[in-house]
């Protein structure tokens, strides 16, 4: 569903180690400068590897945790059609997590290591999922705005310099388009409904709008890792530029839908050929990233519970496979 360039570990930026083979370093940089791709077994600087593991695993965690707020509504979807669509969407999010975990594993980290980092709270995931989904309109708004913001963020990642990540992103972006369209369409249906249903949509938009703008990460002036990531072809477009594109794309959509966006400062700037917008509450964003959002504890606890309660299934499947293999070896002997 989503990645955000969190830049939450600025201390990672360290100078290149002198012992690293200068020749390999040059070759690596030439490949990147010529828009070439780096593949799993190629030499790469330790910091490039570390940055990718962090970003791809955070992205994977976001997909998996992202299943939870919408999963809440599967049993309460208003029709069989909407239920089938929501199940398919949540299943996609799980699939996206799996593509991404696989991509991260090609860098030499194990699935269990990544999950352990998530479950112990060491690894982050997108803070957007630490807010509750209060009404059915929230499900539509998540599709339209949260997935819309995610698409804006993810399309440039299809050109990421690391091959497996770029390929996973191509697959994900193809599927995200369904997510956004189903959300928008479901809101259009509600907007043709009763005044109560229309008010429900407006209320959901009001609650999610600013959180979606924060999804693009801190302002460029406050993103110490972005320069390095840009040079390495991991990040292509800055947080502020992506945020601006998202706002410019969303304003006309809101008009079609017939909802207002909760920002009195939002207006077209003829000179810039972009919309101006109001100040984002970064204190609230950082508080949520750092564990003080309304659902941080609940989300993590749900993940850990699912993992713990699934342990016997993982163990039994492995025991069965080992037993079958032992039997085959014995029969062959």
């Amino acid at each position: 569903m989503y990645t955000q360039a969190l830049d939450i570990h600025p201390q990672l930026a360290t100078p290149l180690v002198a012992t690293e083979d200068a020749h390999k370093q040059t070759h690596f940089e030439e490949t990147i400068n010529h828009e070439g791709k780096i593949e799993p077994r190629d030499w790469m600087p330790a910091h490039y590897r570390k940055t990718l593991v962090r970003q791809i695993s955070q992205h994977a965690h976001s997909e998996i945790v992202g299943m939870l707020p919408e999963g809440n509504w599967i049993s309460r979807a208003p029709s069989l059609k909407r239920k089938a669509i929501l199940i398919a969407k949540v299943q996609d999010e799980g699939g996206h997590g799996l593509y991404l975990y696989s991509a991260a594993e090609t860098l030499g980290t194990s699935r269990d290591q990544m999950l352990e980092a998530l479950h112990t709270g060491r690894a982050k995931y997108s803070s957007i999922f630490n807010y509750p989904t209060l009404t059915w309109a929230d499900v539509g708004v998540i599709g339209w705005l949260v997935d819309g913001a995610a698409i804006m963020n993810q399309i440039p990642l299809c050109r990421c310099s690391y091959g497996p990540y770029a390929r996973a992103m191509v697959r994900i972006c193809k599927e995200e388009s369904f997510h956004q369209r189903q959300g928008f369409e479901s809101l259009m249906v509600m907007m043709q409904g009763t005044p109560e249903q229309q008010a429900m949509v407006q209320d959901a938009v009001n609650r999610w709008w600013w959180k979606c703008l924060a999804m693009f990460g801190p302002p460029d002036s406050d993103s110490p890792n972005s320069e390095q990531s840009k040079r390495w072809g991991i990040k292509r477009i800055s947080n502020d530029d992506l945020r601006q594109s998202f706002i410019d794309a969303t304003v006309p959509q809101a008009k079609v839908l017939g909802v207002s966006l909760p920002d009195p400062d939002l207006k077209w700037n003829e000179e810039r050929q972009h919309h101006d917008y109001g100040a984002i509450d970064w204190d609230e964003f950082w508080a949520t990233v750092n564990g003080k959002g309304p659902c941080n504890k609940e989300r993590l606890a749900t993940r850990v519970k699912a993992w713990d309660e699934g342990a016997w299934v993982r163990e039994a499947a492995l025991a069965f496979a080992n037993k079958q293999q032992a039997r085959q070896t014995k029969e062959a002997a």
Binding site: R41, G95, S110, D112, Q113, R314, E315, A317
Partner: protein
């Protein structure tokens, strides 16, 4: 690190034939306890939208890959043998398509 890598389900590479007449192409990997399980997972993870008509799953440990540092030794000898390409030969226009 409490996670014990040996308790993980093994890794499998997934290949999908997108339609009859085309080759199977690598599309990603997944963890599964055995081949039958990997097949089932591959169907759920990689073919939710009719992306395929046939699947291969191969235990990743069974794949032998060339090393990046062998690239020159393996592939460069072909670069100076341009006579292997039809465009190397000049044939009079009168001959027509050949």
């Amino acid at each position: 690190m409490s996670a014990n890598a040996s308790n993980e389900w093994p890794l499998w590479e997934v290949f999908v034939r997108s339609k009859q007449g085309l080759e199977h192409r690598h599309c990603g990997s997944l963890h599964a306890s055995d081949a039958a399980h990997a097949m089932q997972m591959a169907r759920d993870v990689y073919t939710r939208r009719q992306e395929g008509v046939s699947l291969w799953v191969v235990a990743s440990a069974q794949i032998h890959a060339s090393e990046p540092h062998d690239k020159a030794a393996l592939f460069e000898p072909a670069s100076d043998k341009i006579f292997r390409h039809p465009s190397f030969y000049e044939i009079p226009d009168d001959v027509g398509h050949m």
